[in-house]
Structure formats: structure tokens, C-alpha cells
Symmetry: C2
Subunit: 724 residues, 2 copies
């Protein structure tokens, strides 16, 4: 990887060093000196002798030692040579500030690719270009120019310098937690999000990784790394660019329904990432996760003095799905012994003025509550920190004692305390003490609740993390010869889609529960198939030139006997010829009439950021109007597929409503798993659309299936050649 | 009303005055003295001669002048006598601190009612009991004990002292806007929310009313007053207690579906109230509305220096429904002339470092943007206020100049500027200047966006406010004799519900589009009605003892001819007798088979807080699973009813999907209006359930109708007696 040498660099060359105070090449050296960077700094500028008291070199090649890292502040066009020189001088990496690359469009992208080629050839890694820089806080290696970055255990990865500035400012002002790394990823031309992530995962001093993301260049690799990272430490991520409408590839339900943001969100969640909705919550949530034990059983107590705050917190946490359970009788008895009679011992607990004379009662209550085995965390809301301000200075000392006790209690109990105080702004010493013990303090009640939620989500995730996916696709590995044959034939005929019966056969070959549809080339065959099926049948036209079979009069239902089958065959072929005179008509598919059931739809597509994804939703009017669907990035196991069914808003319909029997959810999950397997087995599959699928009480019927192939943009040629 | 004399009191008696510093009776006098209350203070305590240098009276009756107001800090049991005495001494009102009333349950409620009876009899009004007190800031009349309440134009009405403390603390810290009144409404035993609202509406110094509400005692009177108030000034309301589950009266769809919170929210919106979801947003939104002009056309520009903040703001405002339109060409040209070439002139506008040397360019841009006729407000996000901090102190002066210019620009253009700055905490003078000009500054991007939303919602509301409802019911006024007859007969028979044909007839009498259902008492009548209808018919059992007709085998469909009708009549009556041997069978209703259409449901019930409400939703599986319904507080005009149709998530289904024709939305709206009229006309109606209603391309069919009557809890006796 080489990132270790970059982040722990013992020597830095500043290329484009300057005496002009307004230039980055000046500011960078000044910052390194001001912050007392312990490594060697080598200014490089052919026109200067010394800069800020340091000897200046004409070229990086003149530096008398091998360097670890270069900061390049010169314009884009100078980069190729400079990067090569830096590599020759031993640099493991370069931070490239200049813009003028991929962000300017196609030409910039080509240029960016050339720069990356040089770097790869020479074995040097690039942070950026178009980056605000990098800070390795422990090493005092500050290549950003932001001063007074508070030190701590959060690694910050960002696509916006402004957001980084916001977070660092907030940390300095409101927290004792800070950062150990800052990386402005810039254009991610070379080093990508997932590589930084890998480095921070292994870094023992990093407790939380905080990310601001506008778009992912290599979404799948990111998910693969993230799912490893979150087994070890939390990732807190804010994704902006939500309102940018997702891809809308026409002609596919999946395409039209897949807002990129929903796909990303479901993938993030599955990778164990804490997905932050509100930018105000980014730092507080990272701070809480970096400071506190996790909530292991999704249930907490709320402690307050007086109404209002507790009510709001209880409302909000309930909406967030956090349980606020009944206390054990023993707990209530202990509380009753120390609180006034008008105190509320239900959860939330209201001390009702019982702390007015002695705010250390908060610590007593905290001890009692955290020893309740149904309670796995504590949210204290309202007035703590303010008793010394409101009533008497003496009470401030008692609050400080309570802070010491609560701080130790968190370590001892391994259960977190999150504190909301409306006196936070007044900076009473008791609240600083809490922060010293890694108990964060918030002046926003809602943000405190969101921190509780994050501690609980991550706690639950870690307990269940054996269930996670690694997002590894094994392209082509599970292909079987008969399946390859079907696809090969279609491609050989110049088609970019499989016919309905081919698509179904492909699924059947992989063990999907497909009804026995068969292709009839003529009337007699149709009659024979219908006789074999021994029930009412459906007949549908089969032609690569007719996509919308119903529109072409190419579908006939409920055919009861030989005569009806014969007439239907003639009629369908005639209709099809009239609809599309040049159509290549292969025959008719003959199938069993689907029984009663719930209509669902399953589709796959190739997402720009994450590769193959699968969508599940209810069919019919619901899927069109409510857009009630769920997504997963492939591959998907049967378990994960089952979780997709519960995610839709109308999930109840699958369990049977209005006296209908529950439908076979296991069969759906199995079909989704098989769909996942098929897409993975044949990388040439671009989209699949099973629509509708009728799910019965026992089993299901795939009424129509469509598979689109694409030989483009992938290494399929290789795979196809293996067919020869 | 008398509230004027309370809020402007020139003299206050403090009953329960004390020398003990920990007592409210001491603190109240101390606060009045410290804050230099300009009126006269009369301590009352039989055991003291003087308190805090003031002569102490044995009884309020001993005070040598008529008093305006009493603060009563003595316990609950003393109240009756003291209130009477205060009234005798001329007091217009009393602030009653003591708890121990309605909040303790039934006995407390009775006691509370007795106190109110005394007050009413004596002509004195009560704030509270169980209140944190009241402050009239202008008069320095502070009966709460909270010090340093910042003065301003916001009237604060709260059910939680803690929340008031939070808001006042926040105002003092972060704003130049403050409060002119504070009222802790307490138990609202006498003076209710709507009465305070009325007073603040008329008070010329109040620009915004900010409310924290846990529950409303008289919801409808509140809505009536609120809808008047919001024509003049905004109400900002945070409702807590959301997770308290709503009423779930069994046996009624409406009951089970009506989460109280949805009903309240829709009513608040309709009354023009700004309904705040997040307690963090309460003060900022009130501040913005009290400080800035409204956004009149729901479209704004976003101005930023660099990415990140603008992206987040654009995402969020888009989600909130605020338009961020294209700029006029002229605007873009003017911006291009002053910004660097890499600036983005699309909306959001990114100055891309164009303000680094001269932050007054923000003011230039603001002038250009607010002169664009498509732009009705401006949100500036990110770095303003920090140029002097980041780059050079000199830039601070330029920022100050920009602040002066932007401040004047808001007055001149009558379009608001909302500012987000991550340097807010550093308190640069430029941001204080903006506040001086009534431009609020926020360090939360999301809160700044919510303020923009509030300015826009209220702006749109005021432009359309002729459409509002006054929430006035005219009980019984529109009743007609035939309708009264139907209800009277049912009641006379001891029934608490109308039979299906009676319910439909009642609706028909009021002009609702009801199909010609008729009751057949025997086979022959059934045959005759079917012949009259001259089409396939439905027959349904009619019995007050059979609520679920289908379960009883009491419904038969698609009856084609005389024979089928005869057989069906026999069969239905037989089934019903077997199902419920003692059932009083009235006959069968004979109706036309409903044609194709969309199934909807319309219901009414009596809400605890707001009185009669109506619900609309799609029928069938959708209403059961998606719970996709909308509510209105009655009365509802056809226009308001039409707006209910658009509010459901599945509204598109009404417009026709999958090739179905659009359904007759006007007919639905008309039916809802008629339902509203019927409920208003006959106060004895407790619930109505039209389920299902089939809506056709032209017209609709009410397939089943149920009306529940209740003679309880209303002044219906009077109305019923008028029938004799």
C-alpha cells in the first residue's frame, strides 16, 4: 500500500515553495514550522535560495536524502515531470493541490489518467489532485493550512474542504474529541476512498472514520472495504448530492425506480456504516462513537429533572426505534428511596426537583439505572450543569462530584451515558469534566438522541456482524455450460436479449422455481404441450422483435381444449405478423395459468457506483404509484433476500390481508438468491426483469421474464471466448 | 377579556411573600425589584412586617389600593378564599403557582373546577394553576424568576418551564431577537391557549407567537383563534407527546386510523400554523419570522463560496419543496462581470474564491440576486464572517461594510436574507451587524434551511389566506325535517345506529350522490324494485342486529332476473336468521350493481381535541396496509375536500394508472363536503363510515354506509326536543 510512509512521513518536499505570503507554497511551510513538524522540510523552487529560513532546492532531485512525501503546489501542466522526479527521489506519495483535471470534463479526465499512468509506472501514490490537502495530526504533518486542529481519534475523509473546516471548527469549540487524520480526497485520481479506509482500519489510534461523500468512484470496492472496517471500528458517513436524480434507464422498471440514493443507503446500512442524514449530526455522532461504549441491546433509560425535555426525547427516540423499557421493580424501589414522592419512576424518569438541593442525585440515579439489566445506556436531558448557575455556586461542586462519578460509571458499566444540557454554552466545569471522561455533552436534544441511535445501531450491528456481506462478486464462477449455451446462441443470433423461455430456462438451470414453460413451434406442438400440462394454459408469442407481447395481441389466456389452443396459436401468429410484419417469429410459449397470489416484481441492473444490484417490490399498481421497493447490492444470500421483503412499506400484504393466506416468502427469497447467482454467473447480463411474479400460498409463478445482455464495458470477451 | 390588565398590571400583590431566600414568595419580589418593575409591589403574609424593604400586609384586603394582579404562591387548599379576596380587592387576574390540581387525576380535577367556579363567580381570571409563571417583558413584570430574558417581539406560550428556559437561554446566547411575553399556561384551568392567543394577536408589539404544546384542552377554539391570528402574524408551534398513541375506538376504520398527531398536524397546517418538527428549530424559526420579510413565491437563490455547504443546502431545500430556480440571463451576466471565470452562475451560485480578496462581493451578489424577478429570498451559506479570521483582519472591515449593505438591502427589497456561517461562534462584528439589521445568523445549515422553509410556507399562506377555514361549526343549523325524522325514528326504536338505507337516505337528502337504494320488505317488493332498476342488482340484509352483513351471509350480488331475486331474498333472510336467531330483520336493500372504479373510504369521528373530523383514503388493501389517509377538521368545503385527495401518497391512482380512466375527483370532493354538512347538521351523529365508495369515471357509488349515533356528551337534548 505505501500509505503508511505517506501518513507517517519523516520528510516532506514542498514543490512550488514561495516567499509570497498569499501562496500555498509559503503557507504550507509556515504551517509545518508553526505546528512544529518533527520531520525535515525541503522547499523546492528554482528561483529562491532560502524560504522561511530553510535552504531551497532547485529541483526535488537535489534534495540530499530520499524523501517520504511531496506536497506539489505547482500548476497541472508541470505535474508529469515533477511526479517522476519525486518518485526518483524516493517519495512514497505526493499531495497534489492543483485543479484542472477530471472535474473539467473529458479532456481533463484524459490528462488525469496520464498523470496516474506516470505515478503507477514510477511507483508513487497521489492524494488528489484538486485536494485541500492532508493532515497527519500526531505527526504534526499539516499540509492543509487549517490551524489548531484538535487532536483525537477520528479520521476525517472528505470531498469538501468547507465541510472539513466546519467539522474541525465544531470539534474545537464544543468537544474534547478531535482528529488524528484529515484527508481531502480531491479527485481520487489514484488513491481511492477504500484505500484510505483500509489504512485507517489498520491504524490503532483511529477509533472512528468520518466521511463526507458527494460521489463514490469505486462504490463496490468501497463497500467491500467498509464491510471489513465496520467489523472493527465505526464509519460515520454523510452523503450529499441526494437530490441529484438517479439513473433512469428507460425500458426497465428497475432502472426507473432505482434512485441512486436509496441504493446507496441500503448498501451503506448493509456494510454497517452509520449513514447520517443531517450535516449537523456528523461530528456529534462520530464523537459519541469515538468516546463511548456501544449500546448493546437497543434499550435505554431517560433521566430528567422536570417535563418537556424528557417528553421530546421519548417521542423522538421512539420514532427512531429505540426502546425505552419498563424498569425492573428492584430499580424502581431503589429510585423511590432517593427521589421525592412526586418523582416519576416510569421510564423516562423525572426526578421532579429531587436534584435541586443535591445534583449528585443524578449520579445516584445513573448508577441505579445502569445496573438494571434491561437498560443498556442512559440519556440525561435538561438541566445538569446548571444547578450551580441557577441556584447556588456550592451546587457546582456537587455537580462536579457527580460528573466524576458518572465518568467512572461509564467505564465500569460499559454502558454509555449521553448528556444533553441547556447550560452547555455556559461551559460549567462539571460538563468539561464529563468530556474529560469521554461523556459528550450536547445542547441539542435531537442530536443527543441521534447519538444514542448511532450507538445503538452500531452496537446491534456488531453483535450481528456475522450476518454481513463482503460484497465480493465471483464473476462467471458459477456459470454452467447449458446456461452459457443459451446466452451464446442469443449473442450469435445478434440479439441483445433473451427470449422469455430462454430467460426462464436460464433461471431454471440454476434451480429457480420456474414453471414448465415450453416453446411450441407450431399448432401441433402447442396442442401436445397443453395436453402434457393437463390444465388451462396461457400462450404467448415468442419473437426477438416483439417486446410488448400484449400490445401485439400476442397473449391469450385460459385456453381450455385442443380447439382453443389451435385457434389461439393461429390468432397470435396472425396478430404478431400484422403488428410487426418483419418480425422473426419463433413460435409460442405454452404455460400453465398462474393461480391466485400476490403480484411482485424482481429486477436487476448495473448501478454506476456499485455494479449489479437487485430490486424487489410489490407488482401492479403499488409498485408504480407508491414506488415501494427495496434494493440490495449483489451478491445476495437467501437471508439477505428475506430482509428485503420486510423492508418495503407494504410488507404486510405478503403476510396475507383481508383473509388472504400468507404468501410463500421463502420462495421469493430463494428466487432473489437465484437471480443474484445468475447475474453473477453470467457477467454479460445487463438487466433482468421478472415482472410479474405471482406468489402463491405455496411456491410462485414467474409470469414474464426478460434478460438484457450487454457485451460492453466489461471483460466479458474473455469469458465468451472460453465458450469456444 | 381582562387580559390587558393582567399583562400590563400596574400593581401586584405577592401572596405567600417570604423572607426565606429559597421560597418563591421571596424570589418573586426580589426579581421584580432587581428588574426594576415600575408598578407597586404588595407582599402579603400575616406573619411578617416587612419583606425586602416593603411593607407586608396581613391580607390582600388590607392593601390600600385596588390591585391589578395577584401572584399566589400559597398551597392549593388556601386558594378559594384567597382568590375571592383578590377579586374583592379589584384584581383582574391571579397567577397560581401551586400544583395539586387536575394533573393528579379525578379528585384534583374536581377541586380545580371548584376553584374555577369561584374565580368565574368573582370575575377574576387565573393563569395556571401549576404554572411556572408569567412575564410581561416590556413592563418588567417578571413573575417567573428567570433573569435576563432578552427583550423582543416574540410572545412565548408554553406548557413546560424547562422548554421556556431552553428557548430564553438560546435567545440570549445566539440572537438579537427576544421575547415580549412569557406565559406558562400550566393546567389551563381558566385561561386557555386560545385566549392568550387572542390577546397576543391584538398586541401591536408581538410579531410572532411561539408555542410549546403537549396537549390542547379546547382544540377547536384554539384552531378558530389561530386561523384568525395567522391572518395577521405567524404562530410557530412545537407539539410534543407525538408518540402517545392516538384514540383507537374499536369498530371504526376512522378511529383506528386517526393517529391524533396526524389530525393535529393537518389542522395546524390548515390554520396557517408553522408546525415545527424539531425542538432545535423552535427559536430560530420564530426569530426568522419575527425579523425578516416573508418569501412570497417559494423560490430562492443560494450563495456560497466553495462546495459542500451549497450542495447540502440545495439537497435539503429541494426535499423541503423550496424551488431553487434558474437565474435570468441578465442576472447571470451581471454576476459573471464580478466573479471569477470558474464561479458557478447556476443556482446555487458558487463564487469560487471570488470573495477571498473582497468579501463585499457577497453584498454585490446579494443585490444582483434579489433584483432577479424569479428570486424571492436569499440563503447565504458557509464562510461569511470568517474572511477577517481566515485571511486578514482588514477583510473584517470589508465584511462589516457588506453586512451594512445587505442589512439595508433586505429592507429595500422586502426579500429576506438568511445567513449560515460556520464562524458564528467566533462572534465576528460583521455577524452582529447583520443581526442588528434583523438578519439572523445560524451555525446549523439545516436550521437555516428550515427558516427559509418557514418564511416561504408563511409567505404562501398569507397570499392564499382567503382560502382558510374559520373552523366554525353551526351545529344543527342545516338540519332538515326529513333527516331529523330518520334519526328520531332510530332513536325512538332504541337504536344507536342508522340502517344502511337510512344512512344513505340522510346523505341523499343533503344532496349527496347516492344511488337509488330501496328497502324491500318482502320478495314481491324486491322483485318490483329490481324491475324498476332494470339491471343486475345487489341485495343486502337490513337489520339493526347484524353489523357485518357478509359474515352473516346477508349479501348477494349480480342478481339477473325475478327468480334469482326471489331466491336471494329467501336465502338472505334464512342465513340471517341462522346467524342471529333473535335479529330484528327489516328486509333487504336492493341496489344497482356498482360499476368499475376506484375503491375509496370516507369516515368521520369526534376527535377528543378538535371535535368532528373527516378522513379520506383509498379503500381495499391500500387503506389497511399503507394507512394512506388524510384528515380534516370539520367543516370542510368542496375546495378543502379536494385538497385532501392530493394529500395521500397514492393520489396518482385517482388520476388513472395502468390505462384506467381518471376517476371523478370532483364527485369525491362533493361527497366529502356533503358528509361534513350532514355531521354538522345533526350533532347526534358520532361516527360515519362510507366504506367502500366506488368512484367511477363519472360519479360514484356509495356501496355501504354506516352512521353511529350518540346522545351523550353534548347538548343534543335541546335539539331533539325541537322535534316534538
Amino acid at each position: 500500500m505505501g500509505l503508511e510512509r505517506i501518513f507517517k512521513a519523516e520528510s516532506v518536499a514542498v514543490i512550488g515553495a514561495s516567499k509570497d505570503e498569499t501562496k500555498r507554497g509559503y503557507q504550507a511551510i509556515k504551517t509545518l514550522q508553526d505546528e512544529q513538524y518533527e520531520g525535515r522540510i525541503y522547499p523546492v523552487n528554482p528561483r529562491e535560495k532560502t524560504i522561511l529560513g530553510l535552504k531551497c532546492y532547485k529541483s526535488v532531485l537535489d534534495i540530499p536524502e530520499k524523501i517520504d512525501l511531496a506536497l506539489i503546489t505547482t500548476p497541472a501542466h508541470t505535474l508529469k515531470n515533477i511526479l517522476a522526479d519525486c518518485a526518483d527521489q524516493g517519495a512514497a506519495g505526493a499531495v497534489v493541490i492543483a485543479g484542472g483535471f477530471g472535474e473539467l470534463g473529458a479532456e481533463g479526465k484524459r490528462f488525469e489518467a496520464e498523470i496516474v499512468d506516470v505515478a503507477r509506472a514510477k511507483g508513487i501514490r497521489i492524494i488528489g489532485p484538486n485536494t485541500s490537502g492532508m493532515i497527519s495530526v500526531d505527526k504534526k504533518l499539516n499540509l492543509v493550512g487549517l490551524k489548531e486542529v484538535p487532536q483525537g481519534a477520528i479520521a476525517l475523509l472528505t470531498q469538501s474542504g468547507n465541510i472539513a473546516l466546519t467539522l474541525i471548527t465544531e470539534a474545537g469549540l464544543k468537544s474534547q474529541m478531535g482528529f488524528n487524520y484529515y484527508v481531502g480526497v480531491g479527485n481520487e485520481a489514484d488513491i481511492k476512498f477504500h484505500e484510505y479506509l483500509e489504512y485507517f482500519t489498520e491504524d490503532p489510534d483511529t477509533r472512528v472514520i468520518l466521511m463526507y461523500v458527494e460521489g463514490l468512484r469505486e462504490g463496490r470496492k468501497f463497500l467491500q472495504q467498509a464491510s471489513k472496517t465496520t467489523q472493527v471500528k465505526p464509519i460515520v458517513l454523510f452523503k450529499s448530492g441526494r437530490s441529484a436524480t438517479g439513473t433512469k434507464s428507460a425500458g426497465s422498471h428497475t432502472g426507473a425506480l432505482a434512485g441512486i440514493s436509496e441504493v446507496a443507503r441500503s448498501a451503506f446500512r448493509r456494510a454497517g456504516i452509520i449513514d447520517v442524514e443531517n450535516s449537523d449530526e456528523m461530528f456529534p455522532i462520530a464523537e459519541s462513537l469515538a468516546s463511548l461504549p456501544r449500546i448493546n441491546e437497543n434499550s435505554i433509560a431517560i433521566l430528567a429533572d422536570g417535563g418537556g425535555h424528557a417528553t421530546i426525547a421519548a417521542d423522538y427516540l421512539t420514532e427512531l426505534g429505540i426502546r425505552i423499557p419498563e424498569l425492573q421493580k428492584e430499580t424502581r424501589d431503589k429510585l423511590a428511596a432517593i427521589l421525592p414522592t412526586n418523582a416519576s419512576l416510569a421510564n423516562p424518569i423525572d426526578v421532579a426537583g429531587g436534584t435541586d438541593q443535591d445534583p449528585a442525585v443524578f449520579a445516584d440515579c445513573a448508577e441505579i439505572l445502569l445496573s438494571d439489566r434491561n437498560i443498556h445506556g442512559l440519556l440525561i436531558v435538561g438541566l445538569f450543569g446548571g444547578y450551580g448557575i441557577r441556584f447556588s455556586e456550592k451546587l457546582a461542586f456537587i455537580e462536579e462530584d457527580a460528573a466524576h462519578r458518572m465518568g467512572k460509571l461509564v467505564s465500569k458499566s460499559s454502558k454509555p451515558i449521553v448528556l444533553h444540557s441547556l447550560y452547555n454554552f455556559a461551559k460549567p466545569h462539571s460538563l468539561d469534566l464529563l468530556r474529560y471522561y469521554n461523556i459528550p455533552v450536547y445542547d441539542s436534544l435531537e442530536i443527543a438522541c441521534k447519538c444514542v441511535e448511532a450507538l445503538s445501531i452500531y452496537g446491534s450491528y456488531r453483535r450481528e456482524s456475522h450476518k454481513t456481506s463482503n460484497f465480493q462478486l465471483n464473476w462467471g464462477a458459477k456459470a454452467i455450460p447449458e446456461g452459457q449455451e443459451i446466452i451464446y446462441n442469443a449473442l450469435a443470433e445478434g440479439r441483445n436479449s433473451l427470449l422469455e423461455h430462454e430467460a426462464k430456462e436460464l433461471l431454471r438451470l440454476h434451480g429457480a422455481p420456474v414453471s414448465m414453460d415450453r416453446l411450441a413451434l407450431n399448432e401441433d406442438e402447442a396442442v401436445k404441450i397443453a395436453a402434457d400440462l393437463a390444465c388451462n394454459v396461457v400462450m404467448k408469442i415468442v419473437s426477438p422483435d416483439i417486446l410488448h407481447k400484449s400490445d401485439a395481441g400476442g397473449v391469450m389466456l385460459k385456453l381450455k381444449n385442443e380447439q382453443e389452443v389451435r385457434e389461439a396459436f393461429k390468432r397470435i401468429v396472425k396478430n404478431a405478423c400484422e403488428y410487426e410484419p418483419d418480425a422473426d417469429i419463433k413460435g409460442c410459449i405454452v404455460s400453465r395459468m398462474a393461480g391466485e397470489g400476490v403480484e411482485v416484481i424482481i429486477g436487476t441492473k448495473i448501478d454506476d457506483q456499485f455494479g449489479p444490484i437487485v430490486m424487489f417490490g410489490l407488482g401492479g399498481i403499488l409498485v408504480e404509484v407508491v414506488k415501494d421497493v427495496s434494493f440490495r447490492v449483489l451478491p445476495v444470500s437467501q437471508d439477505w433476500a428475506a430482509s428485503m421483503l420486510n423492508e418495503i412499506k407494504t410488507a404486510k400484504i405478503l403476510d396475507g390481508v383481508r383473509g388472504r393466506p400468507p404468501c410463500d416468502k421463502k420462495a421469493i427469497a430463494k428466487l432473489i438468491e437465484k437471480v443474484s447467482e445468475v447475474v453473477e454467473a453470467y457477467p454479460v447480463i445487463h438487466e433482468m426483469d421478472l415482472n410479474p411474479v405471482i406468489v402463491h400460498e405455496d411456491g410462485l409463478t414467474i409470469v414474464d421474464a426478460r434478460i438484457i445482455l450487454s457485451e460492453e464495458n466489461m471483460e466479458k470477451k474473455k469469458w465468451l471466448s472460453s465458450l469456444d
